[in-house]
Amino acid sequence: MAVKPSPRKTPMREQHPKERIGNFFEVPYGYNEEEAVAEANRCLQCPTKPCVSGCPVEIDIPKFIRKIKERNFAEAARILKMYNNLPAICGRVCPQETQCEAKCVVGKIPNSEPVAIGRLERFAADWEAEHYVESKIDVAPAKHKRVAVVGSGPAGLTAAADLAKRGYEVHIFETLHKPGGVLVYGIPEFRLPKSIVEREVNYIRSLSVRIFLNMPVGKAVPVKDLLQEYHAIFIGVGAGTPKFMGIDGTNLNGVYSANEFLTRVNLMKAYLFPEYDTPVRKGKKVIVVGGGNVAMDAARSALRLGAESVTVVYRRTEQEMPARREEYLHAVEEGIRFYWLTQPIKYVGNEKGEVVGVECISMMLGEPDESGRRRPIPIEDSRFILEADTVIEAIGTEANRFLLSQFNGLKLNKYGYIVVDESTCATSMKKVFAGGDIVTGAATVIEAMGAGKRAAEWIDKFLSGEYDPWK
């Protein structure tokens, strides 16, 4: 009998917009068992598995979905963890719509949506944690070789877990006081609860990975010591330095980088001030500059802090904005306003040095630029002022100069990112591998994890004498 899948994804229950703008709790509730099984039943179990080719860590997607169909949830989680060390995180923050789900055959059927692979991944990972089942993961016998991992973000955690599974002794060095990198300082609680990050980090610790916090490599741990004491080094420090447009008034009070704003809110829990000591400005009229996921995160956080209005200004249009559709739609539902084709050119301040407005100029789209998107061009005489007491610039990040300057001889490109051999993640320095945003520039969690995975594979080959990228 031919299976005829239902055309739409099984809906995921979520907090009502009116309610959720007043709290930082997670927006979607996730599937229950019945919903998960219903969704899993939409999967055709294609023998060609096109979805797998869309996954940067190549999870055997049909296999774990089949286990959900069979209601063997623990096994589904175990299969996921063979490929992905952070499934509950990926199930929440991966851009599935452009990856695995984009390749799903069900999604190619006219008027049909792809299987909700991300939601199923989240379900299996959460089910495992809620039922206190711990996946038995095979760990290879100890190889008596040590690997240092610099940075505990998605790339570092993945590389560390995979190397530990292969029998290496892995030490992670993290500069902040909490492990997780962008997962803890960048992504808000309502999108990725920190308890979930903690849970998955603890899983990685359970593989005997040691995480040293408050350890800035290059300052508290000299690079030459690392090179001496470890057989290989993986750098996964991300691209954490905020970019500013550099327009007049950038240093007015109330003008934030998205990194600062989100670090205060997420890592330092400023939304719980004064119970927590770190404050953040609770703006009434907030302007967010940018059109990516970080801009959506900042805008939605500002709203939850009690803003009367939050306006996103973006120099292109809705079609070109890089934010995930789901995040954008959530933002719209919550009442965030959008000014398309708008570019700030100056921040207006008062005598106390506080921002009171943003002078903007309207744009139109010209010919495509090097990014393939149509280039925004300012329209003359189109200036106007938007009132604001808080501005958050979310226009991207760049390489952190802090650490890389300490690795003498590390080849960087003109943007300051590390040059690597793409297939092996090997850098120009012997024994040193790198991956994630510090190689590619700002990208997604799963892409960083893909790089961490690839690096682990090649570090293993290097340490077992199978391959030497420096010969």
């Binding site: 902040l176 408050n214 000299p222 950038t250 240093n251 000591d277 404050p279 040095g353």
Partner: protein, 278 residues
Amino acid sequence: MNVIRRKRKLASGVYEFLIESPQIVKYSQPGQFVILKLHEKAERIPITIAGKEGDCFRAVVRAVGKSTYELCLAKEGDQIMDVVGPLGRPSEIDLYGNVMLVGGGVGIATLLPIAEALKERGNKLYVVLGGRSKEYVIMLEEFSKLADELIVTTDDGSFGIKGVVTDGMQLFFEKVKIDVSWAVGPTIMMKFCCLKAKEYGVKIWVSLNPIMVDGTGMCGACRVTVDGKIKFACVDGPEFEGSRVDWDELLKRLAQYKKEEEESFKLFAERVGDLSWL
């Protein structure tokens, strides 16, 4: 790790701590700082390293807001949850000749390791230390040993010259040719020190203490305008050439969370009671 091994009162509301951290002791250089986070709910507070003793580094703290009061209430044997460092760029220590060092308030403590390193390198040190009154001129003994000449100024004239540190600077400038200078203290003091140094065309380094969160170049909270460009005090500093700093902007940025700081302190004071003895 991170245990307070010794605590000593230097002046009213000013405490010296020796905090155990072999790694900071081993790798820190003059001019660098640490970030302390007392407990789960605490802020990250940047504090300059004011020297070393055994396995401990020295930090001198003045209680001004909730977090610094809380730190000053900590006892010997207490453990600080997170200590990260050393951070920032070290001071540029070289043989310059005649060096003038100006310290005010707890900035005097920051100045001490810089002074020691400069002395060791063979420089002659002309030191100006200032405070509200005699009590607030800390580390006088250490500086007396190090300095080739020392001037103390107090606002109320209870010790040394009645006046401010720039009066002391003036006396040195009139007397000797100064090759380079440092000023560490309250932001407003450093601003005026720079104006004074400018009168005599002498290069002056200052150690900035803007509002900071992560301290590793990630958030941009500590940005200052130097030579018209945005710099991050945590990674590009904390020391900058004072003549290039936009002081008025920095002073305004320091007042950014005044309201929240007052609210936080009020709640804290209600909880812990009278703090005037501190």
